[in-house]
């Protein structure tokens, strides 16, 4: 049964909820099963009350072992000034503070409990711009409120909240993702191939792994392969398998990915990378449900559910003669799926940022830095590192959880991130979160002793300036990384490379190589043959360069449209 916390200066709301909405459970401050307003102890002088102001709500929430499923919050609070937020009212008129107290409470709640959904009793007649544009906040029209209306709004909010998150997949609230989810639910149970289109980094393989395969009911394994990373010469053996000695260096019998995935799911990423001959062979395997290894004559069962993905427009490639029409039709294009890029999911971005930052914060790679930073804070007995939290707002100790590590990003940083176009999509988002945390942690760890925070709770603020830096905004100062411009001999190429911290040497090396290849690409006006010659000497094959660029996520199509 969903548990609700009602924050209202009057007892009427919770009384009405309790009387008329028995489908919900209610949070109380004493832990009894029924709200204090209808508790027999109330008449005996019990001092405990439900949340009538922010302080009482905060006390209740911090005492609870788990958060309620939803908060019902009133807008107007008729309370003495000392019980109203903000603590420093400055020039604010008391009457206005009372009339909009719910918004002040909401702001504080969002900062402390960013994932908690809220139904706010308010009016939609005012200026909508003054109401928070938060997907977790739902508004219930005050004028027509009755228990049935409120129950419907609470149920709707709970449904939306629970539907937004499903295991590791955050579907969010964008119509495009809702449609994708609906289609995936059907196609997962279909034996037919699934074609997924989407820009690089949109999570195509993630959906295959976490949605399509688990829901297919297949007993066989999931095999994932990125065709842009397999050299042409090895591609047939990789796909279809090989007998020992069938080609130079083949020392053992080898099952290809089709065979490995028999009875399960085969995810072929970047299927547009296949040449026409391999496309023909792939079509035969799909038609027959069997595969014959290279150098062998025996057909073996190979009937996985095929999930193919591409960041190109296959229909276009068919028209250009670069992709076989018969294979395209075999991939079931009528039901092809389109994964929306991040820039089309702006309403979900604050949640996606939270996930990305939390994932980075809890990653093994960052653990040493996080531990070193947390060692500076006195740690309460009930401190749980896994409860780490990301909040949007001003970093304030009193707004942070006492028993966990809280990372703060400002609202203006959030706005900057929401305005970003995210060409690298989730991949870029993950890197940004990692970079921002590494920079912030290192800056704090390297700060002079007297400037270090030393009181609980453990908080970390990611500055707006840093967000600009890791976004690589034009005009923003570059991160304090090394600039490589070493001494060179005549004829050597000099390339300036700026580095950001990364969790591993592998990622740093990849970043260096990526920038180097991009510089070469522009210097050679996109001629891969001449790039290959410069890199490997006369006679070198452009394919080698193309393959490496693909492995590093450098897509020719994107580079050709990008400024040098």
């Amino acid at each position: 049964m969903p548990r609700l916390l009602v924050i209202d200066d009057r007892d009427q709301t919770i009384e009405m909820c309790h009387r008329h909405l028995p489908q919900f459970d209610y949070v109380t401050r004493c832990g009894r099963a029924h709200p204090c307003q209808v508790c027999e102890e109330r008449d005996k002088g019990c001092a405990l009350k439900c949340a009538h102001d922010y302080q009482e709500a905060a006390q209740t929430l911090s005492r609870e072992g788990s958060l309620p499923d939803l908060v019902v919050l009133d807008l107007h609070f008729a309370l003495p000034a000392e019980r109203l937020l903000p603590e420093d009212k400055g020039d604010l008129k008391l009457e206005q503070v009372r009339r909009k107290q719910g918004l002040f409470i909401l702001e504080r709640l969002r900062r402390d409990y960013p994932t908690l959904p809220v139904v706010m009793l308010t009016t939609t007649e005012g200026d909508p711009a003054t109401l928070p544009q938060d997907p977790l906040v739902h508004f219930c029209e005050n004028e027509v409120v009755d228990s049935r209306t409120l129950a419907a709004e609470i149920s709707r909010a709970l449904t939306l909240h629970h539907e937004g998150q499903e295991g590791p997949v955050f579907w969010g609230r964008s119509p495009a993702m809702a449609e994708l989810r609906r289609q995936l639910a059907v196609l997962a149970r279909s034996p037919l191939p699934v074609l997924i289109e989407g820009e690089t980094g949109t999570g195509k393989s993630f959906l295959a792994e976490h949605v399509l395969h688990p829901r297919s009911g297949a007993k066989g394994p999931l095999v994932v392969t990125d065709l842009s990373t397999v050299p042409d010469t090895l591609m047939p053996a990789h796909l279809f398998g090989s007998r020992r000695g069938s080609y130079t260096g083949s020392t053992d019998d080898h099952a290809g990915v089709f065979e490995q995935a028999h009875g399960g799911t085969l995810f072929l990423d970047e299927i547009a990378n296949l040449d026409l001959e391999l496309q023909r062979q792939l079509l035969l395997v799909l038609e027959r449900g069997t595969v014959t290894r290279l150098g062998d004559s025996r057909a073996r069962p190979a009937a996985p559910k095929l999930v193919a993905a591409t960041n190109l427009d296959l229909e276009n490639l068919v028209r250009e003669g670069r992709f076989r029409q018969d294979l395209y039709m075999r991939l079931n294009p009528a039901t092809r799926l389109k994964v929306p890029p991040l820039r089309e999911r702006r309403a979900d971005l604050s949640d996606l940022l939270r996930f990305a930052f939390l994932e980075a914060l809890r990653s093994e790679a960052l653990r040493p830095l996080v531990r070193a930073y947390l060692a500076r804070f006195p740690t309460p007995d009930d401190f749980v590192e896994e409860n780490s939290d990301i909040a949007f707002g001003k970093p304030q100790a009193r707004a942070a959880r006492r028993d966990a590590f809280s990372v703060f990003l400002s609202q203006s940083a959030l706005a900057r991130l929401q305005a970003h176009s995210w060409p690298g999509n989730h991949r870029e988002l993950k890197l940004l979160a990692t970079n921002a945390l590494v920079f912030s942690l290192v800056q704090q760890l390297d700060a002079p002793e007297k400037a270090r925070p030393e009181r609980a709770p453990a908080v970390l603020a990611v500055s707006d300036h840093l967000i600009d830096q890791v976004l690589g905004k034009p005009g923003a100062p570059q991160p304090p990384g090394p600039v490589i411009s070493g001494k060179s001999a005549p004829g050597d190429r000099r390339v300036e490379i700026s580095l950001k911290p990364a969790p591993s040497f592998a990622e740093i090396s990849a970043d260096v190589e990526r920038q180097y290849l991009m510089a070469l690409f522009h210097a050679h006006a996109g001629d891969l043959d001449s790039m290959a010659v410069e890199l490997f000497g006369p006679g070198a094959n452009r394919r080698k360069v193309h393959l490496r660029m693909n492995q590093l996520g450098l897509r020719l199509r994107n580079l050709r449209g990008a400024p040098a």
Binding site: R99, E125, E143, S147
Partner: protein, 110 residues
């Protein structure tokens, strides 16, 4: 809507009408709920106050014409007095506040 009307709706009308709407839609004869909604109110400081006393205080700052305020005060008095009458008069009297509030809102020039 004028802030004064918003305040009146929040402090008084909503409190009285919520239980009345529930009883109208769901049935029942919960006179106590109607009484709580109309008689056990609090003012801006959180102090107990009756609906009539609260409106008398609030109308000092009303932007509405005096006649419209008088009409609403009459409806309010009718609702309070209606609580003493046999069912379903208490419910009807409280529900009448909905129309009275709309009349009051319409009395204010756009």
């Amino acid at each position: 809507m004028h802030t004064w009307l918003t305040a009146l709706r929040h402090d008084l009308v909503k409190r009285a009408l919520w239980p009345a709407r529930d009883l109208r839609d769901g049935g029942g004869r919960d006179l106590a709920a109607l009484r709580r909604g109309l008689l056990e109110l609090v003012d801006a400081e959180g102090m107990p106050v009756t609906a009539e006393a609260l409106f008398a205080r609030m109308r000092v700052g009303s932007p509405c014409p005096a006649a419209a305020c008088d009409a609403f005060a009459g409806a309010l008095q009718g609702a309070v007095e209606g609580l003493q009458e046999p069912w379903p008069r208490p419910l009807q009297a409280v529900l009448a506040l909905e129309d009275a509030f709309q009349q009051l809102a319409r009395s204010l020039p756009e």
